[in-house]
Symmetry: C2
Subunit: 340 residues, 2 copies
DNA sequence: CTGTTAGCGCGTTCAT
DNA sequence: ATGAACGCGCTAACAG
């Protein structure tokens, strides 16, 4: 009367394979591992057949316990709903698989409590390395973890954590944006960012924006966060008599979504009356209004690099923390053509 | 000369805690587990302090090895770039965390080879249960796995696999779409679907669409896949002299993206000349043209239900495979207002 | 080339 | 209420 949904068979162990093949566990272990060349062809064949027949799969938990290598990589992500995070994660996962590692992803939903809970879980599963894309407001946990295993930060720094960092060259990206906007004739700019909660990449973008404005005599600029006052502040900017054609600069994909939504609610025609350039290149950018001009991040490559960086450390590489800053790529669409 | 990126400290074990507290490993083990009430208050206190001081974390691998419970749940996803998958995954992850489980997500990128590789990995890590959102064209592996652990399917069936299924009531969703389109005056419909590669939910939507068309004397309808011939076939539909106002019905978010992109390339004004309704409700739907009418899936709830279903089986529940079909929710926007 | 032994870190009988 | 001893599945050390 076993229903189909009731698992019954228990796992085949190395002992059963050894017995079936008429050898010792150690010999089977050698076959499993990388010492296969030490075996006589005849025994290797018998073991192979026994494994095949019993459908044996080595237990990674037990292997990890013995060897201290779990082949597990942890990744902790601030916001899985952000396409950027997913894209990076995809790159990490691809690289992991190619190197025989398995990725465990944890999403914190920007919650400090969940971050610490997840870190504890990852540690308890003996992940060999950690890829971190959170604020690390819970820096204590992270710091303590970093004394046990290598970590690499993605996109954002964590203060007091001297770890490798893979991310965007934010200064260059902002410069590209300002150059492009100025060249297209926009003069009055508004940087729209998610709340500055300590995320270093956001701060860097804001700082680079303000520095760029200060350097450019032609440009005026303000910064706005997508918080409670966003709606009114944006309206203020839109109706103010400015220095010239106006444009928004969304500091990431989420901000681009908020800004565009708000513009629509105000009844603006996208993007005849106001320009827009956005960091990140989401798949729907081409569909909105005349298309949203983007600064694309090489997200997959960021993910792959993060993993390779980790692998490097796992291989014993030491030395000071390294930084990998990728350049953004400008993709021009309709949203930066003034007057339609 | 240890750089900051070189992990050094090795993990604290139960033995060290036992020694520090002046008790045996078994006593500490009881403290860790659920036998805490069996301990004398004094010893419990000493253990607690030792754990605190040494920052001890039980090794889940070792626990799992001994008890046969890893507290690991595996999830295998066909396409992580599909927002639907991510949303479901988020629900699963939330539920996992609340119940002390950790989720391991694997993305197959719709590749059969990766699917089998990932299944092997998940099995080797002794995941206790599996949430499956793939075609399972590699059904052999899945079937064999299902004899070892409980599984629950999400969104799509796998033939020959008698497992619980959590997904959408596709017939009802399609009926809602057709009713809405007909009521809005559309008469000539085109269902746009990703390629029918065996994905059961796609097939169900197509079948329900064709059945619905056959039942409705007012409606005409065809089905189109987003494959190589998509562009020309769509054009044929658009220029053909039809029975009346035309509308597209995108069978999911990806199809909606393809369809909208193609309409734009044809120079259509969205959505004055043609209607559109789309399954899934992505965050950018409101921004495109006059806004895309959606049939939203309760993705988070689907994820939570999938996990709870699994938990149920892990708790020993048996019986035939169950089906959980959620209703889609119609969200009307501008894309289903004929003549702008 | 292969078998024997001894753990990895932990939970679980048995004793006491 | 607590400790000693064994084993989970596997690998590494040493024999032979």
């Amino acid at each position: 009367m076993n229903g189909p949904s009731l698992p019954t068979r228990s796992r085949v162990t190395i002992s059963e394979v050894a017995e079936a093949a008429g050898v010792s566990k150690a010999t089977v272990s050698r076959y499993i591992g990388s010492d296969r060349q030490l075996l006589a062809e005849a025994t290797a064949l018998r073991i192979e057949q026994a494994i095949e027949r019993l459908d044996y799969r080595p237990n990674q938990m037990a292997r990890g316990l013995k060897r201290g290598r779990t082949r597990l990589i942890g990744m902790i992500v601030a916001d899985i709903l952000n396409p950027y995070s997913v894209a990076v994660m995809r790159g990490v996962e691809t690289a992991c698989r190619q190197h025989g590692y398995t990725l465990v992803v944890c999403n914190t939903d920007r919650s400090t409590e969940q971050e610490s809970q997840h870190l504890a879980a990852l540690r308890s599963y003996n992940v060999e390395g950690l890829i971190v894309n959170t604020l690390g407001h819970h820096a204590g946990e992270l710091l303590s973890l970093h004394s046990e295993l290598p970590m690499v930060l993605v996109d954002r720094k964590v203060e007091a954590l001297q770890a490798d960092l893979v991310g965007l060259d934010n200064r260059d990206a902002v410069r590209q944006a300002l150059d492009h906007l100025q060249q297209r004739g926009y003069r009055d700019l508004l940087l729209v960012s998610e709340p500055l909660d300590g995320t270093s990449s956001r701060q860097e973008r804001v700082a680079a924006f303000e520095a760029g404005i200060a350097r450019s005599p032609l440009l005026q600029g303000r910064v706005l966060q997508t918080d409670g006052a966003f709606c009114e502040s944006l309206w203020d900017f839109l109706v103010a008599s400015g220095a010239g054609p106006k444009a928004l600069f969304a500091a990431n994909g989420i901000a681009a979504l908020s800004a565009t939504r708000q513009l629509r609610e105000f009844g603006y025609r996208l993007f005849e009356e106001i320009g827009l350039i956005a960091l990140d290149d989401l798949d729907w950018y081409p569909l909105v209004g005349s298309g949203i001009t983007a600064l694309a991040q090489p997200t997959e490559q960021i993910g792959v690099t993060a993993f390779e960086c980790l692998l490097d450390r796992l291989g014993g590489a030491r030395g000071p923390a390294r930084h990998f800053d990728f350049k953004a790529q400008l993709i021009v669409r309709g949203s930066t053509h003034p007057r339609g």
